[in-house]
Symmetry: C2
């Protein structure tokens, strides 16, 4: 599919991230990732000596970074914390619509299946901490105390992950759109 505009490594990471997000770590075989990336096995094991596990970590890192950028962007241009949170929810709802109402949280989809795989969960915790940290920073910027900002950030994170779960089950982004109101971030309407 995706052709040589990007490096082989990047294509592998990108496609892996997308597929894992849709169907989970064990739900996608290397064969499919390789085919979509137009890469042979040799390339995979050259760039990722530990194979699928390495690739999943890289994919989660990449997707986690993208998400963090989306979060930062939503709050960057906001007039208040409530405004930023609302914008973020609506942005993610839009993305969920564009994905055909299929994709889950890229990190939990990718990293929550490896049996007793501590490395995966540790990495997930790191990525989540990055997200929550970003939102916390903006909370402080908007005048919240560090503690209050962290609480608000964590609450928003939990709400988003939960709304995402419900959205996948119901095949509609409405739960994500309802979230700002449920959390009191949308006084009006």
């Amino acid at each position: 599919m995706t052709e040589a505009l990007t490096s082989t490594r990047d294509r592998l990471v990108l496609n892996a991230a997308r597929l894992f997000q849709q169907r989970g770590y064990h739900g996608v075989g290397l064969a499919e990732i390789l085919a979509e990336s137009g890469a042979p096995k040799g390339s995979l094991y050259h760039h990722f000596p530990n194979g699928k596990a390495d690739l999943a970590l890289a994919a989660a890192d990449w997707a986690g970074g993208e998400m963090q950028r989306i979060m930062a962007d939503a709050f960057e241009h906001a007039a208040s914390f409530d405004d930023g949170a609302t914008t973020l929810c609506f942005k993610l709802a839009k993305l969920f619509d564009l994905s055909g109402h299929r994709d889950g949280c890229p990190v939990s989809s990718t990293l929550f299946e490896g049996a007793a795989n501590d490395a995966f969960r540790d990495r997930a915790a790191e990525i989540f901490a990055g997200w929550i940290g970003t939102v916390t920073t903006h909370g402080v910027r908007f005048g919240l105390s560090p503690d209050a900002a962290e609480m608000m950030a964590e609450r928003l994170f939990m709400g988003l992950e939960g709304a995402w779960v419900l959205a996948r089950a119901q095949k509609t982004a409405e739960p994500l759109r309802r979230l700002p109101r449920l959390l009191g971030h949308m006084p009006g309407a």
Copy 2:
């Protein structure tokens, strides 16, 4: 493992529910479920003609019912909606501790991996609706308007699912214990 105190069918459902909850639908092979249940393949395909998919639906149904009972129980003996919500979060935190900080939401772990499997997601939506409906009913019982009760129930659901995700990543039940305060269900402390 689990021996003949229960019927073969029940043992299959129970073990499947447990294993899927830990490692997801694709993360567990039939061989393991069969071994843990002490049952041969023939029995599986006798009780579940469509094999793994049927078993997963039955497992999700069973686990969903258990969860609904836990929810009903938490609110049944509560003095207020806030009290019920707090009790529920603490109960689930306790269960998460007992699981060795491994298990995710039984329904999303089991039913969110089947490629474009609409049947799985529809079933998940039904089970989630049951949970939210149960909490909504209790909200009304505590004097909330039907609309307000449903909002509170949905908000609690999202919070729980999200807290569960964070709890898995951090390998601690603390996010679940923090949730009542984050949602304003715990005025004191």
